[in-house]
């Protein structure tokens, strides 16, 4: 049971950082860049993705025995599309303003390679429990990425976070940040930072390993 616990924990948190779908696997770029011009949009998109990913992972892992391999991709896509449609209508009914901002990118969740990828690589091969945990981890990681990008872009580009003014009225907004180039550049720089952190970490681990080796040799 303890091991199982460990595995669940691992499955969940893997998606957040180590295998982060955006920063590490570089998946799901389209919604990533298109809707992150404000934090609220990013979060809404993240929630919608979470809903779709968790829902379809649950279904796929539940019915994995009954889905023949030959048509699995089509079946996955139908399942995903169903959940996306549900999310689309729900958002339209509940928060029409946000839906208008996200526009065409809600239906485009279907085309997010990350979701299909998780079905193929994980949900269709694991238990329901793990599949849902993995989906939550991945979607969580996706949301972290969306949010950090959205927050950076909104803070610099509009001087606000979730619409709350941060710097007073004399702040000069960096308009580029909420324009398309700002999306590309910010994500590029975040990835750069991520690379750098990973590199430093690897270096550190190496140094520790080296020190241990020296110690054990000595």
């Amino acid at each position: 049971m303890a091991e199982n616990q460990n595995e669940s924990y691992e499955t969940f948190f893997r998606g957040i950082w180590r295998d982060n779908p955006v920063f590490v696997q570089v998946l799901g770029m389209c919604p990533m860049l298109a809707v992150t011009n404000s934090a609220i949009n990013a979060v809404a998109m993240g929630m919608a993705t979470l809903f779709v990913l968790v829902g379809s992972s649950f279904l796929v892992s539940s019915f994995k025995q009954w889905i023949p391999k030959q048509v699995r991709i089509s079946a996955f896509i139908i399942i995903i599309a169903t959940f996306v449609t549900v999310a689309d209508y729900t958002l339209l009914a509940l928060v029409p303003k946000v839906h208008k901002e996200l526009g065409a990118f809600i239906p485009l969740i279907v085309a997010n390679c990350m979701i299909l990828g998780r079905q193929e690589a994980f949900a269709s091969r694991n238990t329901v429990r793990l599949a849902v945990l993995d989906a939550m981890g991945m979607a969580g990681g996706f949301m972290v990425a969306l949010f950090s990008l959205g927050a950076i872009r909104e803070i610099l580009g509009n001087g606000s976070l979730f619409g709350v003014d941060l710097f007073g009225e004399h702040f000069e907004p960096w308009v580029i940040m909420i324009l398309p180039p700002g999306g590309f550049l910010t994500l590029g720089l975040i990835l750069l930072f991520f690379n750098w952190v990973t590199q430093q970490k690897d270096k550190f681990i190496e140094q520790v390993a080296e020190a241990e080796r020296v110690a054990s040799d000595g």
Partner: protein, 226 residues
Amino acid sequence: MSEDKTPDAPAVSSTRLVLTLALAGLISGVAIIGIYEATLPTITINKARELREAVFKVVPGVTRMQKLVYKNGELVSTTETEKDEEPIYGGYDDEGGFIGYAIPGAGPGFQDVIGLLYGYKPDQKLVIGMEILESRETPGLGDKIYKDAEFVANFKELSVEPEIVTVKKGQKSEPNEVDIITGASISSKAVVRIINETHTVWSTRLPQPGSEPLMTESEKTVDEAK
């Protein structure tokens, strides 16, 4: 694309493949129709409210409205939505007296399509209000077409005779002139152009002032309080 994987997949009859997909389709269809039916009322209400708010904004003083379409040479009231129709909206006061039209228009702006709605008083040939519904203009510059109150104020009382023209900021002297926004001339000119173009289309379709379609009873009942 799964050719290389076929060998290790168990042989499955094609009937079963089709059945599986059909079943999946069925389930998804049911789910989709379910959510559609469940959310449709709210969505319809939301949309109607949004539209009404916009119409009320561009035609001040309006409390009731109805959709009008141009059909067979005359402007008639309708509640149905048909494809390829371009509706406008008639605005009325509580007594059903006609106040003005709200006419939607769209056209290319600086970045992307600008969609707007403007209020029009046919007897005075005046634009009496303008609201941008859709735009992706540059934040800080082009978005002034709806963020800059001074610019929007241009459209509170704007003559369309002979046509709306743009002038440099602060030089407005005639009733048909609009002060453009410094640094966002393209966007502000686009707004004016869209109104001009839309007006050219509709000026011939609108009936003589005084003979506007009457407010129909059916609309009145659907109308909710603001």
